[in-house]
Symmetry: D2
Subunit: 396 residues, 4 copies
């Protein structure tokens, strides 16, 4: 066994008393200057009080300034989102805002987007290790029979989270349990983690075999796309749908419903062959831009960008288009939603604070659909490349 | 056929002469105030000249201020990245920076991370529509035989991009072609799109049957995870690997190589069952935070977060750990890399500008590996939930 | 609209009174001789009465004679299968029987295989088409609230099948319902189809919107592998597990637990990258051979061959190995199980008739595990190719 | 370390001199009778000489008699298969033959099926273990540069197999190589295994680092479905396509092209969501029945049942339907193709022996397409359940 003292290295300065001050940030920028020669002068430029930041970042040093463009109006006829919205998109990709703007116009003129949150739950999925498959099966039955006690243990840790149900997956002597929680307006990963930890401790202590467990068995799948999430959902499962008017498609996009139908057939075959997370065009552009602007956990683009498009050419020359986001992770409360610019952007959508998460999820889905219509139309009409030539040429 | 005039709606104000001015931005903030009642006072707070923004955003209105924390030092022994790095992470998720910091310490004390870019290409994948499968097969042969002409047509549009090869995928009467380009230090999606468009026009004009095509057949898969990307790569395919010292694992993380090995077996089974994009813990946290800080296209987290972990318990009690990112999309030139704060963050890593893309890709992979070691250790040692309690509790 | 009389073509002869006679079969062989010049003399060689065949085949003409080899003994310590078994394997692939035989010896000498059926249900998954996603969500709630009536409608068609639960999956305006039935000792696809048809008719007639439906929305996924089946199961979910003794591995297979552990790490990474249905070696060899021998629906190899291997090197030099078959479709009653040779082979395993399906499922899993140990050992020890040289060289 | 003598157990009798005799088979049936009490009287009923069996089975004991029904005529306009075919289907599933028969009629009356083999290669995919990712990348380059020597080493083992190319996949310090061979009319798994073994030995001996390897890294993926096979093919990649006449669809199937189009949209969404191996109805039924009848390796249904359907409603009311089987493994030479009944069935299709593999692959695809049209039509017209009631009711 090697025994070696860990040498003292230079450490990033940190004020153990109160690290969330302009001075601490400045000290770290000075440290960066000394160690890398780079003066973080723009990074230093922020407009809020660092004392707002505990729970959002450690070693705060400054900010990334990400340009925000606005697009709209987008007419939404949802359960929660109703009316015309102007949408803040934080991005550095040229043409993104103008493309979404174009799609929003088509959707709005066609009568707007219908949006529906069809499911809502956040997960944590521990795995229990039993002696063999039979023990694991019996353990699974016990979990089912003791659900109300497990629920009590889990919910003892949170005022908001409610344990809805536990999915079970058997592999050899292992039992993966997938705890599903409703989490109000928070995204709820931490809430779910804490509650599941309490539940697992209770299970381990109570079940006669006192089985070991890991708090995650890697099927959650937190910040990762998975077919499991596409099937069973994670966060919000939300649908946006619209009927594109044939005359408007021709006038605004220079395409027809028949064009679209043919494209969709080919794109569905391609996505299927590729083993893609999304059989539509792309949801990630809208979601990344919205997530940055509104203080979402941007890593959740990994799960949230999955989508299932289902569309139909209608007999009258219109085109029905739906997109289902099976695992959209969003919050209007907690996380980064209360930070300075982030809060303003949520407020601009009428989505800051409690009771707004479903409204915001609906807006996200509607914006995604706007991008789908615009991108596919551009691709069909051949102005995709030329649009990027016009808007997407940054300095190089 | 419906015939309906498109009504005039309120449109977001835009200066058709020069829209990239503080005045235009202010006008749009005023517009937002009028239409939503929200004063974008923090969003208005930026430190650069909007004239820098063409090619990055339209309808510029202000900025999202995303907090940056720094972590490090991270010792990297790569081909391109060599030495100790301090890493800017833009995030609103509490514990993220401190968790990566902890992982970096373990990796650095264990001797650092080895990094290798093993492949590098950007794609655009059009689909040609032939009359039947036989025609499509013959078309495919023709494409192969005429590769040098196709290459010439594609490369006529770009000084940097080089067409490396074309993969072909046959479905019924369709031929999906996947053009692979080297694109220097740009991520290269637009470059690949433009070059492929020129190539397709040449093909369509030259091939006797003059087949129709779509510029994308949805197998690219741009801003979408796919098994195809995991297999064939997209952007950089990059590996980070390290040998964790057994004594340091115990001292810093309170775990052993045997613990890790057992966890990995279970996590691989879980990821496989779930149909996950990543059989490790999560790459998305590191990548989203790095991408925002350094002006990458954040939507590419969708593709970039895929990963394959391969690890081994060593006989001496150490633990070999590798992570392969098969489809990491990064740039050090073009896109958002030249913007004010973004450039500073790239410079801080010694990664701004030409000839730096592989170095930056290596750093990304090394940071991802730091997060893997930290998260799995925390989960094993049971301080995962408590860490989030301490650092991840934002105001609610 | 084209109007064209369908021309009279030569049709395969069929006796509309009673087609299941030696004479009808002979007439069709004569027809084949006339139309193809081929005399089906071996095909004509069967030992049962064609009057046994209604419900198993139409246009009966003769039989395929598939060679059966036997392997064993295989010691199984299951819930239902207990003792030493001799296993009939119908195959034309050389080395298959001898390889399974070798694996069975290792397992048996190591103390046998533990087997457990951890879940059991057969599915039919119709899709209902509603007007929009909101209607579809409300429809989904109604289905849940009216489960007992739906159950009654479904079960009115069968004495054996019981509707256990209905999974729901939302896509746009569609609601995919996945009906899960217990089906006794039959595989139950037809039972599930008939019951679900009755349930759907009841739903369509009763639900106020009287929605259209298709009896399958293609998520069943009948005779197709799918990630859904891996996760949620189809037919039997069954586990076989064993502890291989280190000394026996060395003596019989010339390998060690450490060798196996290293191989498994690499094979899990490979299977994950490939997007494989099975992270082990192969289940299909055992299943195809058992299915042909015992009158299973051989097309179900498509679903049944999926598997999840979870294994561990033990500290004492032994090796724990489990394989989970998530979607094994087998029957001991109905289908082809009562035919002449098929019944004999089931009887040889003590598995013919009612109350035997779980026993047979356990045997299937145990045989699969035998093949895993043998194949991986052969691959490791380098005698894979030479074994095929010896046993697998058929005439060419 | 346990040291234990392996006890002598009862072993299945085997004649070490010549085991392929009626007497050896009878001895084993007697052994089965003694050990299980079951008299294998029907299994004993075969019409060939056991001396034909070396290379096809060990411990030969008798045969499974699988009923064969014939369907047709099926009009095929392929490159290799041309004319009307009568197809032997070995099955125990009622309705299967009559359903394929019905689909064949629709296809034949509509003008027949066009078939094309668009690719053809068999694989073996070893994995080499290097010291780190950089070494593995350099090794990969070396393999590419030394391809002609590797090819020579591989092809030294076979007169028929030709090494076409080697795909490479990088994971950490591992290099998975996927050798692609053309294998004439044999399926070629053993040929590919033997040739790759020789190539690997040459590589290991020649490359300066003398890296260890496993002959399979589990990405082959032999007898397993995988996304890799869907993308890159395995065995034959073959397309069947047809234009169904609108009037015939109505008259024979009671459906319209519009019905089909709508169904396809929903089935593609369902298959995508489920993570299915096949976005059509099912290929496994046809393939299992054909494979048993013609002496194919039936375990290959696992790979072969994958399919991509691409279809279009045509403006004139007809319906274009294609199915692509990306990984169809078939042979007309070697394996079980020369056995008594198997040879007769291949001959009946004009497919026995050398130079026939592409013809047989085309027939397989055409038969699959017949089943797709019949099953979807039945499902649409609601006679699916009733057909199974009529034809699929076996004794229970």
């Amino acid at each position: 066994m090697k025994i070696a003292a860990i040498p003292e290295r230079v450490r990033i300065p940190r004020d153990s008393e109160n690290d969330y001050t302009p001075e601490s940030a400045a000290t770290r920028r000075e440290f960066v200057l000394q160690h890398t020669g780079i003066n973080l002068s723009h990074v230093a430029h922020y407009s809020f009080d660092p004392s707002d930041l505990p729970g959002n970042v450690e070693n705060f040093t400054g900010v990334a300034q990400v340009p925000i463009g606005i697009a709209g109006p987008l007419l939404i006829n949802g359960e929660h989102a109703q009316g015309e919205f102007y949408v803040p998109l934080a991005t550095t990709e040229g043409t993104l805002v103008s493309s979404y703007n174009r799609g929003m116009r088509l959707l709005t003129e066609s009568g707007g987007v219908k949006t529906t949150v069809v499911d809502d739950a956040m997960q944590r999925a521990p795995v229990f290790m039993l002696g063999d498959a039979l023990q694991a099966r019996e353990f699974g039955c016990w979990v089912e029979e003791n659900l109300s006690d497990i629920k009590e243990a889990a919910e003892s840790t949170t005022h908001i989270g409610k344990l809805r149900n536990i999915d079970q997956f058997a592999v050899g002597p292992l039992r993966y349990l997938r705890f599903n929680y409703t989490t109000g307006d928070a995204a709820g990963q931490n809430m779910a983690g804490k509650a599941t930890f309490a539940a697992c401790e209770w299970i381990k202590g109570t079940y006669p075999l006192h089985p070991e467990y890991f708090l995650t068995g890697n099927i959650d799948t937190d910040k990762k796309h998975s077919q499991l999430n596409v099937l069973l959902g994670r966060g919000k499962r939300v649908v946006a749908e619209a009927v594109l008017r044939g005359d408007l498609m021709r006038e605004l996009m220079h395409i027809s419903a028949a064009d679209l139908a043919r494209t969709r057939e080919i794109q569905m075959a391609g996505a299927f062959m590729a083993g893609s997370s999304n059989n539509g065009a792309h949801a990630a552009n809208a979601l990344a831009a919205l997530f940055i602007a509104t203080g979402q956990d941007v890593a959740n683009v990994a799960e949230s960008h999955a989508a299932i498009t289902y569309s139909r050419e209608l007999e009258n020359g219109d085109f029905y288009w739906s997109i289902t986001l099976p695992s959209l992770i969003v919050a209007t409360y907690g996380g980064g939603t209360g930070l300075a610019t982030q809060k303003e952007c949520l407020e601009m959508l009428g989505c800051y604070g409690k009771g707004k998460a479903h409204k915001f999820a609906e807006i996200c889905a509607a914006v995604v659909l706007a991008g789908e219509t615009s991108l596919v139309s551009a691709m069909l009409h051949g102005d995709w490349v030329s649009a990027h030539e016009k808007f997407g040429r940054n300095r190089p």
